[in-house]
């Protein structure tokens, strides 16, 4: 612990600081004087901007976290990884099809997967990353879409993968193909689009727009709530 119970000692890129014990890594770094340009985004675990690696004193384990979510611990050596290089492939979604080997075609490196599970261990969202890379190898787009859905593309799996795969780029292609070609059509949406094209609602909306605020309020108050 630091000088008193309410502080801990952390090492930001190796440099020692005392910080309040209840802060997340991101706020602790701000507390000691960092103003982020890189490595800070939504601050709520939705954007993946603040991927972070750390080791604790006395442990060989290299651990992962989102800086906005992980509370500092005494003796933490922190390195932020705000950018992970990736060679995202270019494709025209209209011109490709969800064939069984389409993912392999665009990302042949997935065949290099060693099934070592490092990616899964590196995921701060606790996703089964290796399982979806394996599903990608089998060409199971739906499984890739389901298992990868909560991915925030923070980059940690990609920087840890010994086979140099960027799992979330593969998953992005899989999800888009699934949505466009395999998900069922919503008939009610198609029907409504047709009605809109015919101008079905124009007259009624014009009528509402022409009403005084008083009259519109009356209609609003009387509207039926069907939820």
């Amino acid at each position: 612990m630091g000088p008193n119970d309410s502080t801990v000692t952390i090492y930001v890129m190796g440099k020692r600081y005392e910080v309040p014990a209840d802060l997340a890594i991101m706020k602790a770094m701000e507390y000691v004087g960092y103003q982020f340009v890189r490595g800070c985004g939504c601050r709520a675990a939705f954007c993946g901007a603040c991927a972070t690696l750390y080791r604790k004193k006395g442990s060989y384990k290299l651990q992962v976290a989102l800086a906005c979510q992980k509370i500092v611990e005494d003796g933490m050596y922190i390195a932020t990884i705000p950018f992970a290089p990736s060679d995202k492939r270019i494709y025209e979604l209209d011109k490709i099809r969800p064939s069984q080997n389409i993912l392999l075609e665009y990302y042949p490196e997935i065949a290099r997967c060693l099934s070592c599970n490092t990616c899964t261990k590196a995921c701060p969202q606790d996703l089964q990353v290796m399982d979806y890379v394996q599903a990608a190898l089998r060409g199971d787009l739906k499984e890739v879409a389901t298992l990868s859905f909560d991915c925030i593309a923070c980059g940690l799996c990609a920087v840890r993968c010994p086979a140099e795969i960027v799992p979330y780029d593969v998953a992005q292609l899989a999800r888009r193909l699934y949505a466009k070609y395999l998900a069922q059509t919503s008939e009610h949406l198609v029907k409504r689009l047709g009605e809109l094209k015919e101008g079905r609602f124009d007259e009624e909306i014009q009528r509402l727009k022409g009403l005084s605020r008083e009259d519109l309020t009356k209609i609003y108050e009387k509207r039926e709530i069907r939820v």
Binding site: G41, F46, C47, S186, V227
Partner: protein
């Protein structure tokens, strides 16, 4: 971590009353009751929190101090520091911001006849960094069989207390189903029922189920698809590049922007025939000291830039506080707990275990009712840091909708609280209103034109669509409806525009306005980044090299 011992007594009351509350329907407020609770408890109505703006086209309008502070501030850029003859980017359409609106504008620009190399998108942080990406609950579109754009129109107007621009609302509701179609064609995975129909949910004060969602990662799913498509089309863009001032020409039109590399400090002159502001809102101004759900970059840059060139604003007096910001644990205070938790049956409950308001009033009314419960009736629960909150009884969701619903529909929420040892399937969460949305902004017409030629706006930075109070799911929708329109009209405009001589004289005019109004300040805007550094650092910083 879970909850401190002293909260247990209140939590037991929540548990004890759960069964009786289960079947209970709390009556909705009448319009009179709504008005009363708003006037007495909504932060917008609190005395001493606003002042009239002293300068520019909105002179005399009441706005929160924090907003006036960035408008009554010296422009960041000094004209003498910028060489306007050194044009680094020369484009037809310049898009500022890369959230849902900016990306939509960029994606359609080529279809509207702008050459790829004549488009430039700049963004202050990473591509896609935005509030858009953080949207959890969903996006509205009246495509359900028992719904119609007419009913959607009525809901929005009523929710906004009839202050919205009806022409903009008409476009919003009529374009909505086509936005969903567009998303699906691009490869967005919407939640569907086994028969292929959309999962449709209600939201606060909506009279039909019309919320479309992608679990509780709706914004993330839509944005990552748009980003992927944007990269596929290889549209020119610059990350970590802020617009720090607009450029005008000598004919009075906006003609591009002074850009600033956030990492190296280099500036670039971007000349553009049409400029689209898609910079988002101002949550990080922390109006009245409120915590916020907003992205780090939401510092209201767009309204400052637009006001410098004299663009008219509207509805900036109205700020949206989301009823359910997290109030515990301290590490997540202010972060969003999606409204959809209430849609699925979670009830707001006070410290005695009593339901005290209908769970789905309009956001401003619901927030005011929470504040009344905590501060008007002293029925809130106080956290270890002294904050007050009310319970949101999330275990009801599993009881009402079946076990597994939370994991299936609220993966983000479940994960968020699990990190701090709270299982929202079994324990309620503590919530209090949090600063969520900039209702107003730069006034636009149906062509997304601001009051200044050459300057377009779409999304949260614009005003009029949502009036003085937005309903859930209509901001996601607004991004794509108006982002796409901005693209069409900016492209049309750009094809006809011929630019005059570039100038930054409007900065001098702004300085003159400030001087004339007697504004003496060292504030500068846009502010670009919020200030969260520790006090010790801020009082001991020196700049040596």
């Amino acid at each position: 971590m879970s909850y401190p011992e002293y909260m247990r007594e209140s939590m037991e009351l929540v548990e004890k009353t759960r069964d009786t509350r289960l079947a209970k329907e709390y009556p909705r407020m009448t319009l009179d009751e709504r008005e009363k609770v708003l006037i007495h408890f909504h932060p917008d109505y609190k005395e001493g929190t606003k002042r009239p703006l002293k300068i520019g086209p909105n002179k005399g309008d009441l706005m929160p101090h924090e907003v006036v502070d960035i408008l009554e501030a010296h422009p960041l850029v000094k004209p003498e520091d910028i060489d306007l003859s050194d044009i680094y980017y020369d484009v037809d359409v310049l898009i500022i911001g890369s959230g849902g609106a900016g990306l939509s504008t960029a994606l359609l620009a080529m279809e509207h006849g702008i050459e790829r190399e004549k488009i430039l998108l700049v963004t202050k942080l990473r591509l896609g960094d935005s509030n858009s990406k953080m949207s959890q609950g969903g996006i509205q579109a009246a495509d359900g069989p028992d719904d119609s754009p007419v009913i959607h129109f009525l809901d929005i107007m009523g929710g906004g207390h009839f202050t919205n621009d009806p022409d903009l609302v008409e476009i919003l509701v009529k374009d909505a189903p086509d936005v969903i179609r567009w998303h699906e064609e691009l490869g967005v995975i919407y939640d569907k029922n086994p028969d292929g129909s959309m999962v449709l949910d209600s939201g606060g004060d909506t009279s039909r189920r019309r919320m479309h969602s992608c679990k509780d990662y709706t914004g993330l799913e839509i944005l990552r698809v748009l980003m992927d498509e944007f990269r596929n089309r290889e549209i020119p863009f610059a990350e970590f590049t802020s617009a720090v001032e607009l450029i005008m020409d000598d004919k009075g039109a906006v003609a591009g922007s002074v850009l600033y590399n956030m990492e190296t400090g280099e500036y670039y002159v971007a000349r553009a025939k049409a400029t689209v502001l898609a910079t988002g809102g101002y949550g990080r101004l922390h109006i009245q000291g409120f915590e916020t759900t907003n992205h780090y970059g939401a510092t209201g840059d767009g309204i400052a830039l637009a006001y410098h060139v004299g663009a008219k604003m509207r509805d900036l007096d109205a700020t949206q506080y989301h009823p359910t910001g997290a109030a515990y644990p301290e590490q997540v205070v202010g972060l969003l707990c999606t409204e959809k938790l209430r849609t699925y049956g979670a009830q707001p409950v006070n410290k005695d275990g009593d339901l005290f308001v209908h769970p789905l009033e309009p956001r401003d009314v619901e927030s005011a009712a929470f504040i009344r419960e905590c501060y008007g009736r002293d029925k809130g629960v106080t956290t270890p840091t002294g904050m007050r909150g009310v319970w949101l009884d999330t275990p009801l969701i599993e009881i009402k909708q079946g076990e597994g619903t939370i994991e299936r529909r609220f993966a983000a929420m479940l994960r968020q609280f699990n990190r701090f040892g709270i299982d929202i399937r079994k324990e309620p969460i503590l919530v209090f209103p949090t600063l969520h949305y900039q209702n107003g902004g730069a006034a636009i017409n149906v062509r997304c034109e601001t009051s200044v030629p050459g300057l377009f706006a779409a999304g949260e930075v614009s005003g009029g669509v949502q009036g003085k109070n937005r309903l859930m799911g209509n901001s996601q929708l607004e991004l794509y409806v108006f982002g796409r329109r901005a693209s069409r009209y900016a492209a049309e405009y750009a094809k006809k525009a011929s630019l005059g001589k570039l100038t930054l004289d409007h900065i001098l005019r702004y300085e003159h306005w400030l001087e004339e109004a007697g504004v003496e300040t060292d504030r500068r805007a846009p502010i670009l980044l919020p200030e969260y550094r520790g006090e010790r650092v801020l009082t001991h910083r020196i700049r040596l090299f």
